[in-house]
């Protein structure tokens, strides 16, 4: 179980002069949920497409489930499931027909199809919609159907490109709960997302920005990177009733390194010597409302992105 099921080795994709994925290295342990994060256009989908054999790498190589994505594309295809961005099934086919098609596409026998269909339908709980046209399903059910199709041939590695984009919070949570159940049964999930709460739930993460991996590791490891909160600084959270006013106040502080609004809180990075009491006085809030905070993943990614932009 500890053999990595995905390994990227100096993987690079360039379209002409434009390098979309630049010298990327990381690996994903089997039976884990790996989160691949980054802004739009940072190279996430291109990386997934290379790993699925949809896009040929310019240089470097990658192994998925032990197979080389370039030279063993056929074996890779049988070992992986893939759920593309957006609705990528046939809206004019029913739920049952979509599943039937993918079962046949993998060359499964009629009896194997029936058995596997029953299994995945039960897993994702889509049984009562079998005869519905998939175009008529809600976004959340469409994603579940897509997941069912991706799981039908019992792949060991599943790639999910923004599986929760555009679906409601309950459907989002249900889908993630499902991923945990499946991962605990040994499947490896490679998931892209923009949601930080989803990222926090991943076993490990990589953050890609403009084709470069800026950080990788567990959420805790990433949050405690020295780049996120430099050694001579400390991070406080300020709870305030007037977020905009307090935010403005923070910018008058001589010792401020960074300030970010989080809902009704403001996270600031300041000089290490500054105490919570002093900070509270300087921004005009009660001392009880300022306390040191651990950086969130969002803090981490904002810090990493700013650093990369500055470089």
């Amino acid at each position: 179980m500890n053999d990595p099921s995905i390994v990227l080795n100096t993987l690079t994709k360039a379209y002409g002069d434009r390098v979309v994925v630049d010298n990327v290295n990381f690996s994903v342990a089997a039976g884990t949920i790996f989160g691949y994060l980054g802004p739009n256009g940072s190279g996430k989908t291109t990386t997934i497409k290379m790993l699925c054999g949809l896009v040929r790498p310019t240089s470097g190589d990658a192994h998925v489930a032990g197979f080389d994505v370039e030279t063993q594309a056929n074996q890779v295809r049988r070992a992986i499931g893939y759920m593309a961005q957006g609705f990528s099934l046939y809206g004019d086919l029913t739920v049952d027909e979509n599943l039937e098609f993918y079962g046949r596409a993998y060359g499964m026998s009629a009896s194997a199809r029936e058995a596997r269909k029953r299994q995945v339908v039960e897993t994702v709980g889509i049984g009562e919609y079998m005869q519905y046209l998939s175009a008529n399903l809600s976004g959340g059910w469409q994603r579940r159907l897509a997941l069912a199709c991706a799981l039908l041939h019992d792949p060991t590695v599943v790639f999910l490109d923004e599986p929760t984009a555009g679906i409601d919070p309950v459907a989002r949570r249900d889908l993630w709960d499902l991923l945990f159940v499946l991962a605990s049964a040994g499947k490896t999930f490679f998931v892209t997302t923009h949601y930080m709460d989803e990222a926090e739930r991943c076993s490990s993460l990589a953050y890609i920005y403009q084709g470069h991996i800026l950080a990788s590791g567990s959420p805790d490891e990433i949050c405690s990177m020295p780049d996120i909160t430099p050694v001579d600084t400390v991070r406080y959270g300020i709870a305030t009733d007037d977020v905009m006013e307090t935010f403005r106040q923070t910018h008058n502080l001589q010792y401020l390194r960074d300030a970010t609004i989080f809902g009704r809180d403001i996270h600031v990075v300041v000089d290490r010597r500054i105490t919570a009491t002093q900070l509270a006085r300087d921004v005009g809030v009660d001392a009880s409302r300022v306390e040191p905070v651990r950086p969130s993943l969002e803090d981490a990614f904002v810090a990493l992105t700013r650093k990369a932009d500055a470089a």
Partner: protein, 372 residues
């Protein structure tokens, strides 16, 4: 290269496409009905058998010879007398107004002059707007001149007689020439359109990537897309063939099984051409424009409407580039002349060759465009 000829997953694609086709019965009905409808419309519209040309008559003479001439006009298949006018000005006026295409002016003393052997002349005016009608009307008008004389004098003496024999289409019905050509044309049009959207449609709907991560091979996908439409095309062919036989009354001189087999081959070639377009186009609009780009010249140079041997040489050569040209040769050969494989192989071989070439090109093109 081995991936190119990977047929796995073909059955899955056939299953899916058939389900999708059957999901929308109206589209299917359109696909089968439209070629038949086009055949009926075009078959009646393009008719160079000039018959029932409306004409006007000004009969100043009112004698028996004039009446014999008018009866001859009315009895001919070429002319229909639709107007009798009372002066010469109205005669020309009727042509200018477009009410008639020909007009005959029988002058005063026509009967008397004829009987006196003074060679009287009947004025015949033909509207030259449509050259085909004009030529036939002109020719017929001249032959009509013999009628009054024969009827009056019962003289049938002619120095010699030409007895032309028309082979294959003795009635010289233009439908026998045009309708088979039109069949080729309408079948080509609909089949190219059917598959032109097949691949690019999946690309635009975002379903193509999901397909490509499965073990479905390139050839499997291409043939899987093609086969269900061959079934649709076979129904289309049956519909237009029934139209040919029973609506236009064109007899099929040759072997109908051979006709069906070769037609099915052509339909596959044409569907393949659509598929090729589908792998080149980036959007469905582009695919439609490309299809039209192929369709229009093929109307002109394939011989569907215009006889190829009358075309300038470059146009004749251009015709050989289009698979439809060969199919129309085959169609006319079998339907009109009762030809068999022994006579038709110079058309059959290139047509089948094109089919294989187009299919391989589509597969190569597809493999290149999808794994960039």
């Amino acid at each position: 290269m081995s991936e190119l000829f990977d047929f796995s997953g073909m059955g899955a694609v056939v299953y899916k496409e058939l389900r999708q086709i059957l999901r929308s019965p109206f589209t299917l009905a359109l696909a089968i009905g439209v070629p038949l409808l086009q055949l009926l419309l075009l078959g009646y519209a393009i008719n160079t058998t000039v018959e029932h040309v409306p004409c006007a008559v000004y009969n100043e003479d009112r004698g028996p010879a004039a009446q014999a001439f008018i009866d001859g006009l009315a009895g001919s298949r070429t002319f229909d007398v639709v107007m009798n006018v009372s002066n010469r000005r109205d005669l020309i006026g009727a042509i200018v107004a477009g009410k008639v295409r020909a007009a005959f002016d029988i002058p005063q003393n026509f009967t008397a002059d004829l009987l006196a052997g003074r060679d009287p002349a009947v004025g015949a005016f033909v509207d030259g707007s449509d050259s085909a009608i004009a030529q036939v009307a002109y020719g017929s008008a001249i032959t009509l001149s013999g009628i009054p004389l024969r009827n009056l004098t019962a003289a049938t003496v002619t120095p010699f007689e030409v007895r032309p024999v028309v082979l294959f289409n003795p009635a010289m019905r233009s439908a026998n020439f045009f309708v088979p050509g039109l069949i080729g044309l309408v079948l080509q049009n609909i089949t190219i359109m059917l598959t032109a959207l097949a691949i690019v449609g999946e690309r635009e709907r975002g379903t193509l990537d999901q397909l490509l991560v499965t073990p479905i091979g390139t050839a499997g996908l291409m043939l899987g897309k093609l086969i269900p439409y061959v079934l649709v095309a076979a129904l289309q062919f049956t519909a237009v063939l029934l139209g040919l036989r029973f609506v236009f009354g064109v007899p099929i001189a040759g072997n109908i099984v051979l006709l069906a087999v070769l037609s099915l081959s052509f339909l596959m070639v044409s569907l393949g051409l659509g598929l090729l377009i589908s792998t080149i186009a980036q959007t469905q609009i582009q695919a439609q424009l490309m299809a039209i780009f192929i369709l229009l010249p093929s109307v002109l140079v394939s011989g569907a409407v215009f006889e190829r041997s009358l075309m300038p040489l470059p146009m004749q050569i251009f015709g050989y580039v289009i698979p439809l040209t060969y199919y129309i040769e085959i169609l006319r050969g079998i339907v009109i002349r009762g030809a068999g494989v022994a006579q038709l192989w110079p058309s059959i071989l290139p047509m089948l060759g094109y089919g294989v070439l187009i299919f391989v090109m589509a597969s190569i093109r597809f493999a290149r465009s999808t794994r960039g």
